[in-house]
Symmetry: C2
Subunit: 331 residues, 2 copies
């Protein structure tokens, strides 16, 4: 492909995404559904994975090599970490910048909701029951946020602004991080868990993070501590979480992501004591589709101009290694 040709961009989506109008005349956009992916991929110059909750890519990936650029409208890229893509020269980019602040707000809101028992208050309102209770302050409590990427960082900053004392844990320890001061390494997590009132999982799903929140981790936490997951479902061993809630080892929890989504109607998680269930919506704001499209449109312009793409995923790591956002990327 040269500048004199119009690139063919496959868009994995049943419906035309909003916000791609700036590409009119600059790209040949072809909408494709999962069943047509294998047939269309060989001729594609780029692939926009708009409907990102797909497992169809590995089987559809061309043996002769896929498109030169794949962009996913998600923060997590775990579904794209199959060998044919990882080992290829295909550049993979993601939607970093769209989800951080909404997720941080969701976490702050659910922590306040757990501390103030909003769920109990709303349930009493439904029954017209006026029942005063005392609740907790969040200021001065301790939170451990696991995930050194933009989502974990935004969450740590937001909780810190609310007066919580926050320890951020990432893959790589840093003593003098330009943004959050100190980042603890995963090796330090065991020592931090017993001190935490709140443990927030905001990590990407990698082989290192899969199942990291299990009976052992919950057992290390202070009795009555609360746990939140906004990363990926498989970070958590759900049966162990359920047991920790039932036993009172955990005083409450909030999950926005699950191992199986949608969460089956007969899952015991729906009725677990003190557990708040939300349907993987923490990141999704009224403007999120336009915001997602804007990231792709911006990167398309860079791609066509031969400039460096934003949000390039390190395919060996499974995420974008953190760099101080001097260029505004992670905002």
């Amino acid at each position: 492909m040269t500048d004199s040709t119009t690139p063919r961009v496959l868009v994995l989506s049943g419906e035309p995404p909003p916000g791609l109008e700036p590409l009119d005349g600059r790209a040949e956009l072809r909408l494709v559904t999962e069943d047509r992916l294998a047939a269309e991929l060989p001729a594609a110059d780029a692939l926009l994975v708009w409907e990102f909750a797909t497992d169809a890519l590995p089987a559809a990936w061309p043996r002769a090599g896929g498109p030169r650029w794949v962009h996913t409208a998600s923060a997590g890229v775990d579904r794209l970490m199959f060998p044919a893509l990882v080992d290829s020269d295909t550049v993979l980019t993601n939607a970093r910048g769209v989800f951080e602040q909404p997720i941080a707000e969701y976490v702050a809101g659910q922590i306040l909701a757990l501390a103030k028992d909003f769920a109990g208050t709303y349930a009493r309102q439904r029954d017209h029951v006026w029942q005063h209770r005392v609740t907790e302050r969040v200021g001065g409590t301790r939170a451990v946020v696991v995930g050194g990427g933009p989502i974990g960082r935004a969450t740590a900053r937001t909780l810190g602004a609310l007066g919580l004392r926050v320890a951020l844990v990432g893959r790589t320890a840093r003593a003098d991080d330009p943004e959050v001061g100190r980042v603890h390494g995963f090796a330090e997590l065991d020592a931090l868990l017993p001190e935490a009132d709140w443990v927030v999982s905001a990590a990407p799903l990698t082989e290192q993070t899969r199942d990291m929140f299990d009976a052992r981790a919950f057992g290390l936490m202070k009795r009555g501590a609360r746990f939140l997951n906004v990363g990926r479902g498989p970070l958590v061993v759900e049966a162990d979480l359920l047991e920790a809630l039932r036993a009172g080892q955990l005083g409450g929890a909030a999950l926005d992501v699950f191992r199986e989504e949608p969460l089956p109607a007969d899952s015991p998680l729906w009725d677990a004591p003190g557990l708040l269930v939300s349907p993987h919506m923490a990141a999704d704001t009224t403007t999120w589709l336009d915001d997602l499209a804007a990231v792709f449109v911006d990167n398309f312009g860079r791609w066509r101009a031969g400039r460096p793409l934003r949000n390039v995923v390190d395919k060996k790591l499974g995420y974008i290694p953190y760099a101080a956002p001097a260029d505004g990327v992670s905002r």
Copy 2:
């Protein structure tokens, strides 16, 4: 009373309050209920209004003059603003310092809950319904906080820390407030209301603030704006709020205080569209009773030593005029 005598301190409470042990041997504490107040007050040197939701004081106040010092375990003093006390030499102090940060956290939590529709999410959880929705960011939205005292200020600071753009409105406009930069005067409120996404009532109840949130005020707000009240119930004309919610002029609301408390079971407010009802508990944390007692114990020591009391209410104004908290009082 001199230092050689032990002062008689009436405590208006059915049960002994916790946290008053430091007064053992230093004061003669007499527990009194409303029905015995008139009989006991003439001989009292001081009165601790522990059960502060009382309207019994005016009728029980001695014609010959009440105790020299009255302390109320509340932030609002509206129930104590009866002429015999206001016009007397009795010093009135309150519980400033205990409630600010918990209320600020409550407001932040309910704003996040409204923006993210937590009530809708929790209701769906009860029915095991997985239904993704898009919700709102609070960062970048605009809030007007009405109430220039410590509660309004703590609320403004907390919302600002969450990324909201906040205008604080108080009785007295200040261009260069040492704590929050600028305080708008009540006269500016009409101009601020149409711009606000969130309007938070955190003012004391005075003749100036009674009924200030009425059909006219709600009509000035942006269509779909949200309203919160953590001040006092009579700041709001509840029938007008109900109508504004039903008409969609307001997109939601959260009330922690009501004109009649407990809110009667047949009040239409319980089921008003988009309204979150909580039972006057925003300020009340697991440590609030001890915190309230500590304020009284500290002031008792000052009183006995002849030093200036903290939290002296200006009885003509009905609240403590704001001063920069150089002495840590408002923390």
